[in-house]
């Protein structure tokens, strides 16, 4: 059965490499997957449950861990929709229209990918810090941005900025504007065209972008670490809480919280599969 999967069904010459090559490639791919994805996941789970289920439960329902969970979900719940709206608007404009400065905008969208997350965090410290550009004004009006939730949200939005737009721009460019033009010429309004023609065409790319964006928003460490202030039970997200626990020699709890983070990632994947299944069969 397994060997059959490896055999190409296409009998055309040149498209059917020897079985041994197919097997070698498969083994290498699976080996990589095991070493770099599955094994670390197993180790996290093994360490998390090493002291028993009750201690694991106590670790993830501990006050500070719960607050880290809430903060992580809140940050993702703000960052993902913001980047969804931005990503759709930007890719729509960039893929369906021609204008000057297009490549400059694409470069700017890519900026958060190019900049180290630590630098991304520092940008906000320099901007909103007490001695930053806007700091004195914010201080006078008693508005706290960095070392508080707004700063963490801003830093997360920044680092997850390109995910959705970058996913959609190639897709939309490839699809061109023919279908939209047809819809418009048949009398559809702009909004109808977007909803009935553009959106269905990009839905899988969009879902994929949202999932990537969400995963990064929940897992971001570097940028958030710089702007967090590390106040226990208040400005620690799950990844920061893992570091805190590890530094306090609380290894079981650190891995328990890490397993929670891994669990969130798995939930995201399951949600994606459910949506996929429902759209195909519903």
């Amino acid at each position: 059965m397994f060997i059959n999967i490896l055999r190409s069904t296409d009998k055309r010459p040149g498209l059917n490499p020897p079985l041994i090559v197919n097997m070698a490639i498969t083994v290498i791919a699976l080996g990589f997957l095991f070493m770099f994805v599955i094994m670390p996941l197993i180790i996290v789970l093994k360490e998390a449950f090493s002291a028993g289920l009750s201690l694991w439960w106590a670790s993830i329902t501990e006050k500070d861990a719960l607050s880290a969970l809430r903060l992580t979900l809140l940050v993702a719940a703000i960052a993902v929709p913001v980047n969804l709206v931005f990503g759709l608007a930007a890719s729509w404009a960039l893929a369906k229209f021609r204008f000057k400065g297009k490549s400059l905008i694409i470069t700017l969208i890519d900026l958060p990918f190019a900049v180290s997350p630590v630098v991304s965090g520092l940008i906000y410290v320099l901007l909103f810090g007490l001695h930053g550009w806007l700091g004195p004004w914010l201080g006078e009006h008693d508005i706290q941005i960095i070392f508080a939730v707004p700063g963490i949200v801003l830093a997360t939005v920044f680092v997850t900025f390109p995910f959705i737009a970058r996913e959609l721009i190639p897709l939309m460019s490839e699809q061109g504007t023919d279908e939209e033009q047809a819809a418009l010429s048949l009398g559809a309004s702009g909004w109808q065209t977007f909803r009935r023609v553009t959106l269905p065409n990009i839905k899988w790319g969009l879902m994929y972008g949202i999932i990537l964006c969400n995963a990064r928003a929940m897992g971001e460490f570097g940028a958030v670490s710089v702007v967090s202030g590390h106040i226990r039970g208040e400005t620690n997200t799950l990844p920061l809480q893992v570091e805190v626990l590890y530094n306090e020699y609380n290894f079981v709890a650190a891995f328990a919280v890490a397993s929670l983070l891994a669990g969130l990632a798995l939930v995201t994947l399951v949600l994606k599969s459910i949506v996929e299944w429902k759209t195909k069969h519903g």
């Binding site: 969970l69 706290q144 009935r196 202030g229 590390h230 306090e248 429902k278 759209t279």
Partner: protein
């Protein structure tokens, strides 16, 4: 199409259901203590102690929020706007920096509380592998061939600066025989020669350091968890804690015959407490650190209490009686020490080359 929309909506709603409940109970005071790395365990217990005391005194509850990190990094965060009511850092210079760079507290803050505003002190010791296989007994043994030393980065870590200065003081004491000569103008030439020796020693010492972590806790993890190095230069309290937490069968503590008296000070951030109206409670919070029950607690957490008579004698007996010199007598205070050793172009910059041979 509609189904996708509904599922996206449901996902978003699910995520939003986790919005934290931000309301703060009435009758509860709230303060933020920004501290350095190794005090996590001490303040976790002290905050409980103080909350009980405060409720008994005033009938009000208190919620003390904690933030921990490398001392220099934490000072930087306060300068950049982390709203600390109190700072409890590793060394006076970091609080001086907050005062100088942000004007958030008076420059003479260190006079506000007894004992240079340091309710507990510590020193620098060596943590070695069980049985001390490299036979490290004194500072000079650190530069023996084949010995790897773990110490954090003095640019970001308070503990690392104490380590560096302790090693420097050791050489001066060895060369001069008496540290009093440092402040004797007749002995200036002799002191100059000794300082040259000290610089050579420190340069050699850093050649034995394979990695500089950013904070004391990170260095401990490097040594204890990752198994790198033969000896960790550590806060006495951090060394005891490692042995306690990670197993007495793995490490030994070696106390060098001479080391530095490390004074981690505490201070109120004036502008923050005045704005928030927390001056009364923060004053009580820091003052209570000198109370008999808090002094006893500090000793239990391996900090040397400034009133040892209030601590458990068994806890005090754990501390060695080796000779300790102060930063004032050898370096003329933190301002001078920082400028000469750790500022840009200072001694650390002159002698440290990344990588070791």
């Amino acid at each position: 199409m509609n189904k996708i929309k509904i599922y996206i909506l449901k996902t978003v709603l699910l995520l939003f259901s986790g919005i934290p409940f931000l309301a703060n109970a009435a009758g509860t005071d709230e303060i933020l203590n920004v501290s350095y790395d190794p005090t996590r365990e001490l303040y976790r217990d002290y905050n409980v102690l103080f909350a009980k005391y405060w409720e008994k005194e005033t009938g009000r509850k208190v919620n003390i929020r904690q933030s921990h990190g490398g001392s220099g990094k934490q000072a930087r965060a306060v300068i950049d706007g982390l709203k600390a009511d109190v700072v409890t850092l590793a060394l006076a210079y970091d609080i001086d920096e907050i005062s100088a760079k942000s004007k958030l507290l008076q420059p003479n803050w260190q006079q506000n509380l007894p004992q240079n505003s340091s309710p507990y002190t510590s020193t620098i010791v060596f943590l070695v592998r069980k049985g001390n296989p490299k036979a490290i007994k004194d500072w000079n043994d650190l530069i023996k061939p084949g010995v790897e030393v773990i110490t954090p980065n003095p640019k970001t870590s308070g503990g690392a600066r104490w380590n560096h200065l302790a090693a420097w003081g050791y050489v001066l004491n060895r060369e001069l025989g008496d540290l009093k000569k440092i402040n004797d103008s007749d002995k200036a030439e002799e002191v100059r020669v000794a300082e040259k020796k000290a610089k050579e020693f420190i340069a050699e010492l850093y050649k034995h350091v394979p990695v500089l972590d950013s904070g004391a806790r990170g260095a401990t993890t490097t040594f204890a968890q990752r198994g790198i190095g033969d000896v960790l230069l550590a806060w006495e309290n951090e060394a005891f804690l490692s042995v306690n937490q990670l197993g007495a069968d793995k490490f030994d503590i070696v106390v060098p015959p001479i080391s530095i008296l490390a004074e981690p000070p505490v201070a109120i951030i004036d502008t923050v407490v005045d704005k928030r109206g927390t001056r009364k409670i923060t004053e009580a919070y820091l003052k209570h650190l000198y109370s008999p029950e808090a002094q006893k607690l500090a000793a239990r957490h391996f900090y040397r209490p400034v009133h040892p008579e209030n601590a458990d004698p068994a806890d005090i007996a754990r501390f060695s009686k080796s000779k300790l010199f102060t930063i004032d007598e050898v370096f003329g205070g933190w301002q001078k020490a920082q400028k000469a050793h750790f500022s840009d172009g200072g001694i650390f910059d002159q002698i440290y080359q990344p990588g070791y041979n």
